[in-house]
Amino acid sequence: MYYIKPLTPLCEVNDLGVTDEQINYIEDMANHIREDIIKMLVEAGSGHSAGALGTADIFATLYFHIMKNDPKNPDWEERDRFVLSNAHICPVLYATLAEAGYFPKEELLTLRKLGSRLQGHPHRGTLPGLEASGGPLAQGLSIAAGMAMADKIDGKRNRVYCMIGDGEMDEGQIWESLMFIGKNRLHNFTLIIDRNNIQIDGFTEEVMPLEPLKDKLTSFNFHVIETGGHNIRTLIESFKEAQDIFEKPTVLLAHTIPGKGVDFMEFKPEWHGKPPNKEEARKALAELRSLGGKITCEHE
């Protein structure tokens, strides 16, 4: 019942290593997702570019390799759940769900428009595959913790994944949730931090410094896996390490490049909440197509 793309029966080799073919496939998917994001945002005329592009590799790895999920059966009881807490980057989630087949890709272009199921921030219940609503930062993490708690009570074996932004960690609710997850040793829970160093007003270490972030997480009783956010093989290894830890919850402190894949957006806080205009979108798409999924990567 795992979600299996015809060409890539990934789950069967889950514990045996990953083939180059599989890696290529995930990279291709990440690149498709990036292209979708650009197309969606330029059409919508508003929305968040940097975080969406920066996390495409993580989303592709999760939905096309790591997570038990079945697009034809989005309410499948045994599925792994994913909650996007930094919900403003939802274009990447929508694009991933569409690429995976949860709903028709054409619908991506309705993003943020009147009557669309692709609301500016996710609305649970409107779209298959959406596990939670979001928008006001930090709420998703608590919701995900509640899901993991329910699974624990029910003795289920599926996992809960949750992504938060680094700026989002300024919110007190994040630390309430981390303490709770640590207390309950929810080892079926994996947190992913999009450590892209930006938030709206600038670089996180200037707006509200988080460092030493790894120490913070360790002291909140998480097993911390520091990882690059763009190399698929590294990501797979990190997620597998997380699955193997049974005494604690895990967090992937994933170093990403905001705007990754589109040169003029990379590392720039001003692209946090802006869509490309038509000309910029053309340039971005050209760049992404020539990359063909081969994104170079500094953090590995």
């Binding site: 219940g125 709420q139 993490l141 608590s142 509640g146 899901m147």
Partner: protein
């Protein structure tokens, strides 16, 4: 409608919170998906009773009301029916934004239990006296808002809401209050109950003020004033029919609640009547100020949340009829 015997002379006294405590256990007996959460106030909210019986279905969240709201939503999305409990000042006070989005916008099947509501909390003082909770929950789409009048009603509401797959907020008090209804008094969420018929004026009350309204009506009847008393335990969805009928038939309304005058039951009644049948209204409520320390009965008197206060308001509104 059958009420308790002798309520006007020697009413039995039980805290409403016990009704929640007993009700959630009974609901939990019938439905194993019910779980209870609390923020370090397990004994005083009376969630302790559930914890004792179903420890594996009780979740201690520590002092983190925001997180509790989100956890509850997540549990609900996984098929649980969470009752999340704290004091009404802190939940929905400190977690309003989480209740709005994680619960209401997402239609999470979460029951929010606001204990120690109203000024009758007493000596703890203003910070602990929830007087704004009806206003801040009533404004939220998808949220049902319940203010029961006594032990039995709190218990029945706690049980009944388990069967309605929608978010609920229920507030209840800490102190002993007269038991107005009986185990057998019919109760239905959404349907206001007329406890006493009358043609001159209607008192629409909720919570502990229902009892005071009955006492006031009895006293006023000896002066020849014929008072209808309505228990409007469901603030949302409000029972428009009962209110409009009262407006039409009695032509003057008094509302009574342990809450600020702005935005609560009185405000809901004013909205309904202005739309369908405008009549004079007087409000028995806290007049836009914070509470203070004191014994519960001292405070209820001082702020006019008493049969005397209601009698005054009735006389005032009758002059305006």
């Amino acid at each position: 409608m059958k009420l308790a015997d002798n309520i006007l002379d020697t009413p039995e006294q039980i805290p409403q919170r016990n009704g929640y405590g007993d009700g959630v256990v009974e609901a939990g007996d019938a439905n194993e998906n019910i779980v209870v959460l609390c923020c370090d106030l397990t004994e005083s909210t009376r969630s302790a009773k559930f914890e004792a019986k179903y420890p594996e279905r009780f979740i201690e969240v520590g002092i983190a009301e925001q997180n509790m709201a989100g956890i509850s939503a997540g549990l609900a999305f996984s098929g649980k029916v969470p009752y999340m409990s704290s004091y009404a000042t802190f939940s929905p006070g400190r977690n309003w934004d989480q209740i709005r989005v994680s619960i209401c916008y997402s239609m999470a099947n979460v029951k929010i239990m606001g204990a120690h509501a109203g000024i009758s909390v007493g000596p703890d003082g203003a910070t602990h006296q929830a007087l704004e909770d009806i206003a801040i929950t009533r404004v939220l789409p998808n949220l049902n808002v319940i203010v029961p009048c006594d032990y039995w009603e709190t218990k029945k509401a706690a049980i009944q809401m388990a069967g309605i797959e929608e978010p609920f907020y229920m507030r209840f008090g800490r102190e002993n209050v007269p038991v107005v209804t009986t185990e057998d008094t019919p109760y239905k969420i959404g349907k206001a109950d007329t406890y006493r018929d009358g043609g001159d004026v209607t008192v629409i009350a909720c919570g502990s003020l229902v009892y005071e309204a009955l006492v006031a009506a009895e006293n006023l009847s000896s002066e020849g004033i014929d008072v209808r008393v309505i228990n409007s335990h469901t603030i949302k969805p409000i029972d428009e029919t009962a209110i409009v009928t009262a407006g039409k038939e009695t032509g003057a309304i008094v509302t009574a609640e342990e809450h600020q005058v702005h935005g609560g039951l009185g405000s809901a009644v004013a909205e309904v009547l202005s739309l369908h049948h405008p009549v004079p209204i007087e409000y028995v409520a806290i007049m836009d100020r914070f509470g203070e320390s004191g014994e519960p009965n001292q405070l209820m008197k001082k702020f006019g949340l008493s049969s005397e206060g209601i009698i005054k308001a009735v006389k005032k509104v009758l002059k305006r009829k």
